[in-house]
């Protein structure tokens, strides 16, 4: 029997909520994607909290919030400690996206769902794979192979293929079939007849954006700039924005424009730095231009990278284009800039993706757009005056309590271990490491000297007054003299590695200085908010640059992939229902649309058993090559090998009679040149028929539109008068098939 496969949606079915699904394969639980939305609504994660502890591995498909946003929270709050798998760009860009999210939030609210450290620790145990790398799981998942494949939507975006015993489960959401400037199209179409395909219905009702979209995009931008207005493109942190940057770069170069373009996120410069080194993951045109001329497309000539808004404010006046995160306008720079620019008629806000449900961006994309919107402007201000004093007092009190607690613990510990113990030593290391955590740093004005000492070195419990640590090195002796530790005498070869460590990877990567400052900012501050109503007078345009396959190509791809079973997730209820009906008719008879927390069993009812093909049998089999395949008819007798395997032996009695079989897929378009190469006059007659020679015609009837489902074999008709040509052409026709 086949491999047991169950799918349980955790979040994101029948709506456009973030994606998160539990896929269990023979009892091994994969959490595929771990998304959150821009509202960071913990109630969405309710189902995840229940299953977090049972998860054996996490697979991430894309680097945006909707696909991995909840990872830090889940790791911290739900004890999700399974290994995480993703591609290198998803890991890196995901990390930057989360930094940007956090910093944007932190700037305007007391954001406490997770911290930068939580993000770091969540991303620390990510195993990075390359495309088409077959990763064999071990332990509980023995026998399961996972492999990421190109999805085409975002850099490093992944279609996951999970294989066990030759059966494929494919998870493909947000793929893109079209080749873009920086990415190739998805390779999803190269998978044929997987046992299960899990895919989304997000775009099922959307159809291809109009051809002239590019012109609208360019025209509206250049028109706004020429009339002296500013253009705001609310973008994601490190995903689709890369494509937009390249489009703008090209347009600017082509028309030699010199309006400034700014890319403003908290992590913009490191984003582009990393992207520059991810060329392996990009499309052919980019890699090719680098290989031949070492032209890195992301050495940007027209786009200026900014990491805080004051730099934008200091920029020279005049029309400009600003790409700022977040795309939802809920927070971040885009929010602030929108508020500033919305009331000016000349300005343009250009949306390149559908806003998440219930966000400001979505509101503005409504038709007609609202005349005015209410927004909350928040900003972090340093504490001053009485507030500051109160804060410091509070901090001091906390410090003292902590110190007291710490010394109590120390006391106990040193009671337990006597003499020169390592605890002292350890505590120092811990403290120095912690010193970057803002709240732990002692305010020099506030605390007494005692606190400083306590923070630096914990006084031994036996001492009355604080003292510098003193280690009494007692040496041990045995029969051969002093006991030495050979390690002490080894020449340190790895000194340079240590030097490297100092450079820096506390942050597991680089964070822009400004951002770092902000984060390490120890100045006490608070958030001030005020609500205001913004008159929306600027023009608003929505153009689809989402880079997702549209309804039509989704259907084409699904029909081509033709899975044995199909699971639909993520997409509005209408879209899901629409795609379901379509697939039932044209793709396969088993289409599932589970509800949240509803477990569906998609174990294939496929029968299969393994046999060994004996050498004797195979020496008599003559294969015929048809495309990638080689086929042959076998009549065999079942036997057993020494180790109890079934094996096929040549048949001893006469072969049973069977209906003759013609195998092959005749393509008229391919057959025509073949015939003409054999010296036969060929042309297409009406209705797809092929007229060969003077009299003979070949045509296909009952055109089987869909390959999947119950459609039968193809029907080909050859007709003509009795003549030599007829038999000649028939022979050529037969040569296209395997006949048994």
């Amino acid at each position: 029997m086949g491999t047991s496969v169950q799918v349980t949606p955790i979040c994101g079915v029948f709506n456009e909520n973030p994606l998160s699904y539990l896929v269990s394969i023979d009892g091994f639980n994969f959490l595929i994607d771990c998304g959150w939305n821009d509202h960071f609504d913990p109630s969405l994660l309710q189902p995840l909290s229940k299953v977090a502890s049972t998860i054996d591995a996490v697979l991430l498909s894309h680097s945006d919030t909707l696909h991995l946003g909840a990872l830090p929270y889940a790791v911290k709050q739900f004890g999700l400690n399974a290994p995480v798998f993703s591609t290198e760009p998803v890991h890196r860009m995901g990390l930057l996206t989360m930094y940007d999210q956090f910093l944007s939030r932190r700037q305007v609210s007391e954001f406490e769902l997770f911290t930068l450290d939580d993000i770091d620790s969540a991303f620390q145990n990510v195993t990075r794979l390359t495309y088409s790398q077959n990763h064999h799981l071990s332990g509980k998942g023995e026998g399961i192979v996972i492999a990421p494949h190109m999805a085409g939507h975002l850099l490093g975006g992944t279609v996951w293929k999970i294989t066990k015993d030759g059966e494929d489960v494919i998870y493909a959401v947000d793929y893109n079939r079209r080749k873009e400037k920086h990415l190739n199209g998805t390779v999803l179409e190269s998978f044929v007849r997987p046992a299960v395909l899990i895919t989304d219905a997000y775009n099922a009702l959307n159809n291809q954006p109009p051809r002239q979209q590019r012109e609208i995009f360019q025209d509206s931008i250049s028109k706004t700039l020429k009339s002296g207005g500013n253009v705001l493109l609310p973008v994601d942190t490190a995903g689709r924005v890369l494509e937009l940057i390249l489009i703008l770069e090209d347009y600017w170069a082509e028309h030699s424009l010199n309006y400034p373009i700014y890319f403003l996120t908290y992590v913009s410069s490191s984003t582009v730095d990393y992207v520059k080194s991810f060329l392996e993951w990009m499309g052919d045109s980019i890699t090719k231009s680098f290989e031949t001329s070492r032209d890195n497309a992301f050495l940007l000539k027209h786009v200026t990278l900014l990491i805080n808004k004051s730099e934008l404010d200091n920029a020279p006046d005049g029309p400009k284009v600003v790409l700022a995160s977040m795309a939802s306008l809920e927070a971040g720079f885009s929010h602030d800039i929108f508020v500033e620019w919305a009331s000016e008629v000349k300005n343009l806000v250009l949306f390149t993706e559908r806003g998440q449900y219930g966000t400001l961006a979505r509101m503005l994309q409504a038709d007609p757009p609202p005349k005015a919107v209410k927004v909350t402007m928040s900003r972090r201000v340093p504490l001053a005056g009485e507030e500051l004093i109160a804060y410091e007092e509070e901090q001091n009190r906390l410090k003292k309590e902590e110190a007291l607690k710490a010394s109590l613990i120390k006391e106990e510990e040193s009671k337990a271990s006597h003499g020169p113990d390592n605890d002292l030593n350890d505590s120092m290391i811990i403290d120095t490491n912690n010193s970057h955590a803002p709240l732990d740093v002692v305010d020099p004005h506030g605390g007494g000297f005692r606190d400083i000492f306590i923070d630096g070195f914990v006084p031994p419990s036996i001492s009355v007054a604080p003292m510098f640590p003193f280690y009494d090195t007692t040496s041990e002796w045995d029969d051969f003299g002093e006991v030495i530790n050979p390690d002490d005498y080894v020449i340190k070869d790895e000194d340079m590695d240590q030097a490297a460590m100092n450079f820096g990877g506390n942050m597991d990567g680089k964070l822009d200085e400004g951002a770092a400052n902000l984060m390490l900012d120890t100045k006490p501050s608070k958030v001030v908010s005020n609500e205001l109503t913004v008159q929306v007078k600027c023009s608003l345009i929505y153009l689809d640059y989402e880079g997702r396959a549209d309804g039509r190509s989704i259907k084409t791809i699904l029909a081509h992939v033709a899975p044995l079973k199909l699971v639909l997730v993520h997409g509005s209820a209408e879209a899901t229902e629409h795609l379901k009906q379509h697939c039932l008719k044209h793709v396969c008879p088993y289409v599932y649309t589970p509800q949240i927390e509803e477990t569906i069993d998609v174990t294939s009812d496929l029968c299969a058993y393994k046999v060994q093909l004996s050498e004797k049998l195979m020496s008599n089999v003559l294969f015929k090559k048809l495309g990638d395949y080689e086929i042959a008819w076998v009549d065999a007798e079942v036997g057993k090998t020494e180790n109890g395997m079934l094996s096929l032996l040549p048949i001893s009695t006469s072969a049973p009679h069977h209906k003759s079989v013609l195998v092959g897929d005749l393509k008229m378009a391919d057959f025509k040149p073949f015939l003409s190469s054999q010296g036969i006059q060929v042309e297409f007659a009406g209705g797809g028929a092929l007229r060969c020679g003077e009299y003979v015609t070949i045509r296909k009837v009952g055109q089987a539109g869909q390959k999947g489902g119950g459609s039968g074999p193809q029907q080909i008709v050859i007709e003509g008068p009795l003549c030599d040509d007829y038999y000649k052409i028939r022979d050529y026709l037969y040569s296209q098939f395997y006949l048994q």
């Binding site: 088409s132 080194s277 070869d493 490297a500 048809l626 495309g627 069977h658």
Partner: protein, 697 residues
């Protein structure tokens, strides 16, 4: 070479003779270069009709055609995949020749970084060798064209071509260097290329593959030598340079333009940073590639180690502070102490040679050879510190400069090789890329060290084939309708065996379109035959041949039709034509052919009246005829055959007698052997003479 001594049958070219079916399990590995030598790496491998070529280098010590691997030994057109491990000349430089000037039509793969640098390094090679070599193997155009044919793959990415699966691991030799693992029908071969298990300033060390290969083709450059620890080598290197320049001398470092040079520059830049007193001494990196390759090094940091990646977070470690590029010797103002790193590494020609010749007679100067040098190059010669050297113009000059050989080349030494092999435990080891005495010593030492694991170590010479046999079990998966019930021993299984790559599936024809992209097809044939006679005549004639001929009328047109043997339908379309249609399969085609023949005959014999009695009378006659035939055939088989009593035949052979009953076919004889033979013979004669039953089994 010796093995070339005119033995054409040993050649690997596929002759016209059809492949022997046994050949399937023979695995052949033949070094076309780098067998018992260093340079022109090229290893041919073939198994189950699939062929793979590893690397495509040139021999740096030779020029023109003689620098190529022995491509004549193979037929380039049958190679499926060509895998290049890294960009060094001795591994990649004959690739443009192979792609552009031979019949090769397979696919070529290398890593991203290798491809980017490949172009730079070969373009440079072409330019440099123009000075000394007349017969160019290829030009820049060929290199540019070859770029389009090269495909890239990433580390660990599995690629499948014609059923050959392969992927690569980090090799740690230079940026982008890879070790290839090839899997053909379950037999795995690891080709290490050049590798190093020691992490250095910018590269990762070679990975240990997850799976143990069946055959490991491994480099043996350093044989049984052991490297000094890296920090000692680095200290010697910097000490030599420091001493020389503080005495007012010049230091020449001949190095391969790319690869190890970057490591040396990292060392020098760091040393200079730590020694401010040296800041007025210039370091030149005399290679036009210097600037170009830096962007490559900046881009593919993902292929480097953690250390570089962390440094990258702050500033680009490849943006050197104390090193300046030098484009040509004309730009070089040779006034005082300086350090110059120049290519090529072997001092064959080019800038390094020019500088060497102008500096070699001053004993204050020094030449540091930082890596492995190939036999036959000047660099190799001066390591043994001869008194004199021959200059490019043929003059002899004294060699007074100091020559130091401090190896930074990232090849595995004995300790690394033996641990690598011990962890990997391949049953077969093939040593390549090493001079024959080094290789021999390595083989001896490895044999003793791996004595208890039954390892087979081979050191083939160029063009010497290693043949191995693998018994691979072919497993098939029976799926779909055919597999609804697992069969018992003795039952039969019939279905379509579908082979894709090296996976086999057996399925029912109706399931074809479910489990594969193939589908079954029906071909309906319709043929019109001119016939103006009566339709009934055809029916009458057919009835004499076929058991079942049913007449009816066509529902649509109302014309008379008939169906022959339930396969072929005849229809009287008009007075002048009949049409015939049927669904293709061998038997129906045969039936249709007979109908066509019959109809044509009728048209021809139209006026002839068929005499019925003739056919009736022949019953008896044919019986008699048959008996005569049987008798004659038996005589021709056994010789003495007489008619005995009761119509039995008496057969005598060598004194043995057999009685054959013609009616029942029973044979009586003393001799069992004869009895059996007569019975068989009679049965065959019977089946040949008697008419065929109308319906097949």
């Amino acid at each position: 070479m010796a093995s070339m001594g005119g033995q054409p049958p040993s050649s690997l070219k596929r002759r016209d003779a059809p492949p022997v079916s046994k050949e399937g399990d023979q695995l052949i590995i033949t070094p076309l270069g780098a067998g018992n030598e260093v340079g022109r790496s090229c290893v041919y491998m073939s198994y189950k009709g699939k062929t793979v070529l590893f690397d495509c280098g040139i021999h740096p010590a030779y020029s023109g055609m003689s620098a190529l691997p022995y491509f004549d030994e193979i037929d380039p057109s049958i190679i499926d995949v060509l895998l290049i491990t890294h960009f060094h000349l001795d591994h990649a430089a004959s690739l443009p020749y192979f792609l552009e000037k031979t019949t090769f039509k397979g696919r070529v793969f290398m890593t991203h970084a290798t491809k980017a640098i490949y172009k730079l390094i070969l373009t440079d090679y072409v330019k440099v060798s123009k000075v000394s070599v007349e017969d160019m193997l290829y030009d820049e155009q060929d290199i540019n064209r070859s770029m389009d044919k090269i495909e890239v793959l990433d580390f660990h990415q599995t690629v499948e071509v014609n059923g050959i699966k392969f992927w690569c691991y980090t090799a740690g030799h230079v940026l982008g260097a890879a070790m290839f693992m090839v899997d053909i029908a379950g037999v795995r071969v690891l080709y290490t290329g050049d590798y190093s298990r020691e992490e250095d300033r910018h590269l990762r060390s070679a990975e240990l593959p997850q799976f143990s290969p069946d055959i490991c083709i491994i480099e043996s450059t350093y044989g049984v030598q052991l490297h000094q620890p890296r920090h000692i080598r680095e200290k010697r290197f910097t000490d030599v340079i420091h001493t020389t320049i503080s005495q007012g001398g010049r230091v020449l470092i001949p190095a391969f333009a790319l690869g190890r040079a970057q490591e040396l520059l990292l060392i020098l830049d760091e040393y200079w940073s730590n020694h401010p007193e040296l800041h007025n001494i210039p370091i030149y990196y005399a290679s036009p590639l210097a600037k170009k390759c830096m962007t490559v090094y900046q881009t593919y940091i993902l292929s480097m180690n953690e250390r570089i990646r962390n440094q990258f977070a702050n500033s680009n470690p490849f943006k050197f502070k104390h090193i300046s590029p030098l484009n040509s010797i004309e730009d070089f103002n040779d006034v005082g102490p300086s350090v110059v790193m120049a290519s090529p590494g072997g001092l064959q020609s080019g800038l390094s040679r020019q500088l060497f010749e102008s500096w070699c007679s001053d004993k204050k100067n020094a030449c540091v050879i930082p890596g492995y040098v190939v036999v036959g190059t000047l660099a190799k010669t001066i390591i043994s510190e001869p008194k004199e050297v021959t200059l490019m113009n043929g003059l002899i000059a004294p060699l007074n400069m100091q020559v130091h050989y401090i190896s930074f080349s990232a090849h595995a030494d004995y300790a690394q090789t033996s641990t690598f092999l011990k962890e990997l435990m391949p049953p077969n080891i093939i040593l390549v890329h090493g001079e024959s005495h080094e290789m021999g010593r390595l083989k001896t030492k490895l044999t003793t060290e791996l004595a208890d694991c039954n390892t087979n170590i081979i050191t083939p010479k160029n063009c010497q084939s290693v043949e191995m046999y693998f018994n691979s079990e072919k497993m098939a998966k029976t799926i779909g309708r055919l597999a609804e019930k697992t069969p018992e021993v003795g039952e039969t299984v019939s279905g379509i065996l579908v082979k894709k790559g090296f996976t086999y599936q057996i399925m029912a024809p109706d399931d074809l379109h479910i489990f594969s992209q193939l589908s079954a097809a029906n071909i309906t044939q319709r043929i019109t035959i001119p016939y103006s006679g009566a339709f009934g005549v055809i029916k009458y004639r057919l009835e004499q041949i076929y058991e079942s001929v049913e007449s009816s009328t066509d529902e649509e047109s109302g014309v008379p039709t008939m169906r022959v043997d339930d396969r072929v339908t005849l229809k009287q379309d008009s007075e002048k034509h009949i049409s015939m249609h049927w669904t293709s399969d061998p038997i129906s085609d045969m039936v249709s052919d007979s109908v066509v023949a019959l109809v044509l005959n009728i048209s021809r014999e139209m006026p002839k009246v068929v005499v019925e009695s003739e056919a009736m009378k022949s019953e008896e006659e044919s019986g008699r005829k048959a008996e005569k035939v049987i008798h004659a055939l038996l005589v021709s088989l056994f010789g003495d055959v007489k008619l005995g009593e009761n119509g039995k035949l008496v057969i005598r052979v060598d004194g043995n007698v057999a009685h054959l009953d013609k009616q029942s076919g029973d044979v009586e004889s003393e001799n069992e052997g004869l009895k059996e033979r007569v019975r068989t013979a009679y049965r065959r004669i019977q089946s040949a003479v008697k008419p065929i039953p109308l319906i097949a089994a």
